[in-house]
């Protein structure tokens, strides 16, 4: 394999990692603040995909713009879901079975809604951009992947900004570290939780739109990406944003380069196997490993 080939694969993996990170960060926020594993994440990925699709198909809105629109729309959807359902269950410092099952139920409902509204068939978002590619010397990659990568990274940067420079972000980080201490210093837990849930779903919807620009989709769409999000979060630790970046890169690299060894139909199994192996070797994710390093001081 030539150097150019290798570089091409590598760049493809990095571009993919960006999108994967945007896809997973939503779960991290929700888990970090509320200790809830959002199994409905897949459903919102799927809805995001259809949202951007419809925006393009009916209203001729450029998909990238559609993704940006998805942020506020899904933010309010997320806040709504929280108000309607999530706030009614008790949460604690440990993830609860109740929250797991509740959001699982939401996922089932969303999946079915998808089927009812859009039916079974595969859709795809095809723009002139989809077919063109960027070429720099021997390296080439589809323009769409670059565009998606840029939007993904931009949104992650935006999230970092929110987390570190705004009041809300500080509350989130406080609650992620110690919920009781946060309450004592005056963080409004319920408000922050609701907003955090909204942000998490916003990222799910927008990421779904981004993914829809790369892959064809149907109402089952979210499931395989949800599993990838799990892998990423497990690799990176459920509560670490840096970990999400690392995990995304690892998964993207594994998926991209494994095509050299195994036939394509096994590809879905990569994510699953990586997940299981990761859980066995790193029960607390890479972030846990990082934390452990300090223990030997």
């Amino acid at each position: 394999m030539s150097a150019a080939d290798f570089l091409n694969l590598f760049i493809a993996a990095v571009l993919l990692a960006g999108v994967y990170a945007a896809m997973s960060v939503g779960m991290t926020i929700i888990y970090g603040v509320m200790k809830i594993v959002n199994l409905a994440h897949a459903g919102f990925l799927m809805l995001g995909a259809y949202f951007v699709f419809e925006a393009y198909d009916r209203f001729k809105i450029d998909p990238l713009l559609g993704v940006l629109l998805a942020f506020p729309v899904f933010f309010f959807i997320g806040m709504g879901v929280h108000w309607l359902l999530v706030r009614r269950i008790a949460t604690s410092d440990q993830p609860t079975l109740t929250s797991l099952l509740l959001l699982f139920g939401v996922w089932l409902v969303l999946q079915n809604l998808g089927y009812l509204i859009w039916g079974n068939s595969d859709r795809a978002i095809l723009t002139p951009r989809t077919l063109s590619s960027v070429e720099i010397g021997p390296i080439s990659f589809p323009t769409i992947r670059l565009a998606v990568f840029i939007v993904a990274v931009a949104s992650l940067v935006g999230l970092e900004f929110i987390l570190h420079k705004t009041w809300f972000g500080r509350s989130v980080r406080a609650l992620m570290q110690n919920k009781e201490a946060g309450q004592i210093v005056g963080v409004n837990v319920n408000r922050t939780a609701q907003i955090a849930f909204g942000v998490g779903i916003a990222f799910a919807g927008a990421a779904g739109g981004l993914l829809a620009m790369l892959y064809s989709f149907n109402p089952d769409f979210g499931a395989s990406f949800q599993l990838r999000a799990f892998v990423i979060i497990v690799l990176g630790g459920l509560e670490s944003f840096g970990g999400v970046a690392v995990g995304s890169l690892i998964l993207a690299l594994a998926e991209t380069f494994v095509i050299l060894i195994l036939p394509a139909s096994y590809q879905p199994a990569i994510a699953f196997s990586l997940l299981v192996v990761a859980l066995i070797v790193l029960p607390e994710g890479i972030a846990g490993l990082w934390a452990k390093r300090r223990r030997w001081a």
């Binding site: 009614r88 440990q94 139920g105 459920l238 036939p263 699953f272």
Partner: protein
Amino acid sequence: MGQEAPVGVKEGADSGGSSVSRFVSVVVPLLLLASLAALPLASPSPNIIRLLFVTLTLVTASVGWNLIGGFAGQISFGFAVFYGLGAYTTALSINGGVPPLIAFLLGAIVAAVASLLIGLPTFRLKGPYFAIATIGVSEAVRVVMMNVPFTGGASGYRIIDKTRFVQSHHYYTALVLAVLAVGISILVRRSKLGLALIAIREDQDAASDLGVNPFVAKLLVHALAAALAGAAGGVYARYALFIDPDGVFAFRNGVAILLMPIIGGVGTIWGPVIGAFVYGLIHEEVVANFPQAHLLIFGSLLILIILFEPGGVVGLFKKFMRSLRARSSVGSHS
């Protein structure tokens, strides 16, 4: 401490036990069993027998899941893997000339062994990580089975059953298996293992601090649960005569196996049985009349149960009994 009883509080606690509840929990199941056993003699339509057959296999899987998910509190989303392994093992065995009963047993054994392989690494994981891992394992096995040519891959696998098809044979097999499953469930619940499992569910660290070995207990009950799910898959396979990975290893099967005990009352003896019947009958109705709304209905049901009555049908029943008792004691003071 809140006054709302958490899911799993034993019925009758702190009131010296209710004789009505005890009566109900013995007589009703016996009546049910008797009617189920006598049913084929009344020559109902084959469709009804088929429906009940499937429901009875669901009872076995549901009761099995409840051993590890309800008693021990280890929520597995991936029980389809055991159901599927049991189905394929039984199918392969029957085609290999093995008598059906042995084939079912082999299915159960393979599933149990798989549960040890899966449990050893995954039981170290905390709550959500464990649940996620079970999804990963189940789906990984499904994808692998889709690609393995030996068992037919995605096209599925056919059983060539040389014996004549007698529907009631299959029906009674499923019934006996279901009764066996419930029997095992009752035995486990009343045994030392059952005590250990509930202690582990409530607080694994405290259980260990009192001498319970959580690893052995979890692995043991997981194997039992997997064996039951595997047997259920095997019994189904022999009836259906055709199985495929997208059918038996489907994630939605794992969902169903999880949903049934929750609907009926997770952690109780009869909850999984009730839940299996509710699910089996609703499933049939839904698929017949609202095939498009299958997940919607079950998803909403799950949401409603979680929000309003986490104890499922059994929980509702207990609340009802308690309100009756309260009302009767109020009356006696007047």
